[in-house]
Assembly symmetry: D4
Homo-oligomer: 220 residues x 8
């Protein structure tokens, strides 16, 4: 009696939105993910998936052995990314627990052909660590900053650089962090003007936002 | 017994963050605003203030008659903006009540020397109105989209253009809109990847975010 | 010492509310569900249950092998539905993850003797997909629209059709979706007038609402 | 320097959505409202506005003396409504303070050419009052129920009638009613299946929802 | 290095607050619960525990075989309750899923020596079921009403009886019930005057409140 | 065109719920209040109204000079209360700002013929003040405790007396008190068993709850 | 009929809690405030009040001309403060709008005999301003940090000093700051260990907390 | 393809913030924890970790057998703490379930070389228990008070002592405690002036705050 339909590919997305389709693995079986990877790689030359848990990844790799899985960021890649473009993105994170989200952003950017510089462990409670790296960060065309708990790092970075800053709240924290709500509110209310914010833990979205910036322009 | 200190100017902001100081008029007296306008115009050639209520604006204009006040966006300008740069920004809004927020973004962009195209009254309940304008929007280097109520317009725009899209939730609505919370949550959860979001009614912040993008690159 | 009472059947519901009793399987044992199915089918000619997890469904099927279980919508049916009435319902959904909720609505409608057209994968980030199907949707007597994340699809549909539109927020999303709250608020604040909303993930309730409309009238 | 644009009429709405444009007076001047009334009445034969405060209404009436203002529902009407159609709507309300919202629904329905029966003061704390009127209510093609505080009335009505029931939470209450949130949540979680809900205080939206039902069908 | 202290008995509670100590089993081991039951029964003649999961109950029963466990209400009793006093309590519940909470109240009352009448399955969506039992309920000295979802039942009961009514919101529901918040808010905002409310799922607290009423007075 | 109906009296309430109708003055004109007072006093021998602002009270007193208004509790009384019954109520409050709410409870109880003892200024930050009065409080048949801010006083009182304790959160506080929400949550989560709670600032409801207790029993 | 009681002085507070009574002026008349000032100054040698609006202050000064009112912090003082103790407090604030709250803390500290250093305008978006002052701050025995918007300043300060840091969220901000909630959550979730937090806008409470620290110890 | 970086030690923290680095074990593997313990003990003479679940602790102890694990507070210690300083801290808790949080504070303080007095089971529903211990508590230089549910204990303690009081809300409770939110709000709104608050369940943070106080001063 069931007639539940299947999802369909969206071949025009690249033209309309400027980036190829990516597999959101949550709620998909290993078989569906494997099929999608192969189909997208055949169409685009390479394919990419996010939010893939480690146990399911094993089954995907069994089916598509040439795919490459990264357990920290829970992303999977098939095929070579395009050649790197001229601009690059600094992906800055506050604490060790923010690394999966920052890493999801970095892996997505690499899949889209962008060079990435990772700067980590520069949370605001030890602000000297950020100062030691700020000149490097100033060279980036776009800066992504991931932080949990009070989410203050983007405010400090945003006051020190003139590039676009995309803030990613993470769900790192406990008690009154309310699964990232505290960080999200902090970033939306930043006293550093011109920050923009994406959803909690949305490293992928931050990367696409950076990609939209990079592709619509020629960096200085 | 009071020793309440006064705020000080921040001459290094332009160098650090890439945009000159702007006067946030809420909580300032007409005299303070007038002094700030004159001082900043003397330093930078022009000056700009936001969130200036109409009655206080009259007193400011009395003191600085060459300043220009716009009652819809509640902004005030003194001096000529810089020559327009090469890229331009589309400022798209959903309904009539969103115009003050969208206008604050537009006025801020003009103050910073950017060309702006206003597209209004294209809310998603009459989606044909957006389709009629979408080709124009596609020419922009950056797109700012302001919407209240359910805040759905940025999702639709984000699916139709490849440029960076900055979503501005407005406090337009009543009841379960909770003063813009519904629109804010809608934009953060957009199914169009790569949108970024600023605080409720923060047209100024959206403009600065667009400025960060434009100044860090040469548009295509 | 326990004297916990048992639930009782409500034979008058059909007369009062216009639809037969349905089994809400959450919190019931397989044995209770099987007994209920048999008793209701004996009384009404057919029986229907919702929210039945797959593992418990196996035990129910063992006891009542002629029952039919659908794992996507987690519904179970026993006996033939009544002959289809003259009007029909379009059940529209935004993304793949919304299919279980949309499907629960569709299965409930079929159990109640209504024809259903499923339209899926027409989320607002690729609005052309909706336009390709809108003429079909316009033929429906009632339209049910299920969407998670920002929940914008009902607003767009509501602006394109004149039939009653019942919006179903789903708990699809993460972070600031707050388990469907973002979609719920979006739908309640829709700029398309005359939408009505049911509880998060309540496909069943949307179907009963559609049934109330269809049975109180003769469609055009 | 201001270039704030003006709102434009949407002549195709009647065809697309099945009801003529209505003036939402909040945030409009008396002059704008008067102009809109005259223009819409010229186009459609009659015109209607909601959310018009009493003091601004006086100015509108000065400009358009043949318009008719109702201070309880804060609605204004110009011209005769269309002839009444065959079905009719019961508009049921719980307490005296819910009358403005219920009345907004009733006035909107009359403007759209529907017959309305008002049933008031039947809150659940005196359930006998509802029972005395329930046979009348059962004759309606659609039932709108407005209630504040705990918002329980729609659940009781929904269990007693088979017609479509549209629940309107009102902001009536204090303390933990949180401006209608308690009533809204109560209605969304109703144990009476097939209720649908609109935004807090949205009598207008409930009326349009009823209109969508009535116009898409011929009542029994 | 650990010096974590142990909890101590509070022998004076009966005198101060009028009821003996009861074991809240959540977070206690089977051994601690067994020891507490034996010690309290030795002191008071009987003992009682709440919130005891079924698997841990088995170990408690192994250690104290004469104890009696009720799996629906998750309560355990050791020894005979005192002779019943003159007044009695009606424990009314809306749906099948509310039975554990209503049952916890009933078991607690019996432990304290009060006669209880259980009335169940009288939710407001089938209000005739309540009317059939209301005369019985009117004979009670105190009425406890447990309901989840929209939590409307106490309002209706409170309008029909003059005895004290204690409302217990339950966490039954899904989506926008937010684990009992909708029912809690509904009960706090009841239009029936003089209802009082306890915490979500707090059948025990409702019983103690009823006990405070019964013991401070001689029923009519 | 307006047909807004008027509210009607509910003569059977006394029999059904055990207390006469009381006028909730919010949203009523001085004329309506005056009429209601006179009508209810004619029917019941005395009449009572709550939530009457001082300026409107002046107009009511002009129309009904024998009525008596209390500006602190914002209540109005006409006629003599009934003779006092045997039990009495302690109305305990934490701080000076809680007096209006506690006073509303006291005035309502007097109107209903109950003796009241007021105990004030015994907040938990100076717990010795409560200890000095606790023996008096222990003599009451019912204890009402009003407190704002953290709302801790009912917990302490509930641990010291065996009578029924009705907790009234007040909206006293600022910042994270969220208009009484902090006090409300504190009271619902009290570690003193058997407290019951009414809505924020609902002194009237607490009094009716006490009345329900007193009238259903003969105090010890 | 009114018997509303009056608040009483608490002469033992100084001994119990270590600080004299302070007048919270909100909700008190000018006459009551004047009486309290005079009475407390007579008892303690000096008196102090907070949250006194400017218009009411004029009436207080008329009655007690030797009192001194500070309009920015809305505090009033009568008599000389005690001689300054050995330790001192740094009161640090982020933006101009935070000055009233920081000033309330400073005035309270001076009233209690503590030396204060004000550091202002050192918000995190211009972190160099904080670095220029950090050596001064490090000399303090206690540091109070007031900030609104995202409330990040205490985290940065807490990472740079070893003294006790008391964070005061202010209600400065708009939109998703939710009247100080964003700053409050940020401070509670600070990644700088050992920060403590007081209520939104509670400069007075922060000062008392600092006083508790200073008086229980001899600073280094 | 993964280049996820590793966390780095922060050797300067002791100098900047006055306390050595502590291992937050949540999200770290047993191997990482063991390595960190050994490295920090080598650098500082002793090491300490918090939030270590019991099963993972077994693996850490296998690798570092001389480490000492406390299962109630889930802390681990390696090496001897420093000699005790002159002041000491009272760690007061309300109920048995608050012991893990209070214990985390106590263990952290001992690791930092501070003497601790534990006072437990003194919740406000049996206030005599607190009075029996209050003289002991008055001798402390700092008082930490941990409580869940309504979180009232710090208010009572704060009114009885003049030392600094640090309130720790715990997540103990159910229903409307919302995982510690009720206790947190209660403590932030305390009527006892000068309390400060840390995050929910943050016993560690409370201990560091006490350490900041003790080290910046010589206790009386």
């Amino acid at each position: 009696m069931s007639d539940t339909p299947h999802s369909t590919l969206d071949p025009g997305r690249l033209e309309r939105q400027g980036f190829p389709e990516v597999i959101y693995c949550e709620g998909k079986t290993a078989g569906q993910i494997a099929d999608n990877l192969v189909a997208l790689a055949a169409a685009n030359g390479h394919a990419f998936g996010t939010r893939l848990p480690e146990d399911r990844a094993r089954d995907v790799i069994s089916a598509v052995p040439e795919a490459c899985y990264d357990p920290v960021t829970r992303t999977i890649t098939l095929g070579e990314p395009p050649a790197e473009g001229p601009g690059w993105v600094a992906v800055v994170s506050a604490g060790t627990s923010d690394l999966p989200v920052a890493g999801e952003a970095a892996q997505t950017l690499r899949f889209l052909g962008h060079k990435v510089l990772r700067i980590h462990d520069v949370g605001v409670a030890g602000i000297h660590r950020l100062h030691a790296r700020i000149e490097e960060i100033r060279g980036a065309s776009v800066v992504i900053v991931a932080a949990g708990m009070e989410g203050a790092l983007p405010s400090v970075v945003g006051g020190l650089v003139s590039a676009p800053v995309i803030a990613v709240p993470t769900s790192v924290g406990y008690g009154a962090s309310f699964h990232g709500l505290a960080a999200l509110l902090g970033m939306l209310n930043s006293c550093a003007a011109g920050l923009t914010v994406v959803n909690i833990d949305n490293g992928f979205g931050a990367a696409i936002a950076a990609h939209r910036i990079l592709q619509s322009s020629t960096p200085r």
